[in-house]
């Protein structure tokens, strides 16, 4: 009723899900990111032993198409990412000429460029 775990739920969580000192992996963390093109205070990151750094690129082989969803569709950001990954895959083996450039260049009008 107060929004917190009941004693029974807490015990279940503690037993099945909680990561702690006795576990090899004590926690997970996303790698910290900072802007490289802006002046930004970068807090020095001490790598904490036992904290597993998640990888954003380990499964990129799977990320060039949308995988099945259940009740919620993929976000626009997700579709954007997938489309760029597909584009990269298509261009990967191009040599010399760039197909994107060849397609888009006829539309360039210099008065559009500041």
């Amino acid at each position: 009723k107060d929004g917190l775990l009941s004693e029974e739920e807490f015990n279940l969580w503690n037993r099945l899900y909680r990561l702690g000192d006795s576990d090899e992996v004590k926690g997970v963390a996303l790698p910290r990111s900072h802007f490289q093109s802006l002046q930004e205070d970068r807090a020095t990151q001490e790598p904490t032993t036992g904290i597993h750094q998640l990888s954003l690129s380990e499964w990129s082989v799977w990320q060039d198409h949308p995988l099945p969803t259940y009740q919620v569709d993929h976000s626009y950001r997700c579709r954007h990412f997938i489309s760029i990954m597909q584009m990269i895959e298509e261009m990967r083996h191009e040599e010399d000429e760039c197909s994107y450039e060849l397609k888009i260049r006829p539309f360039l009008q210099m008065e559009d460029v500041c």
Binding site: H34, F35, L38, Q39, E40, D41, Y76, R77, H80, S83, I84, M87, I88, M91, R92, E94, E97, C98, Y100, E101, I104, R105, P106, F107, L108, Q109, D112, V113, C114
Partner: protein
Amino acid sequence: EFSHRQRLKAAVHYTVGCLCQEVELDKQMHFSKQTIAAISEVTFRQCENFAKDLEMFARHAKRSTISTEDVKLLARRSNSLLKYITKKNEEIAQ
């Protein structure tokens, strides 16, 4: 509409090429044409995303004109980006 969109894309692509050229000179590195194309496409699509968000922000505030406040809202997730945009806005206003 298709032609207009492709014109915009071409302008973005050209500009991205120029910006990358500046970085090349600065860092003594080279960008492949395909990398420039990919950065260009990312930028164009991100601009579309920004435009949709900006429209929603303005509409939420019951305005029919997108304002600089809407743009600042776009940058809300990053303190450094928000600071940068706010500073730029003040410079432009002056």
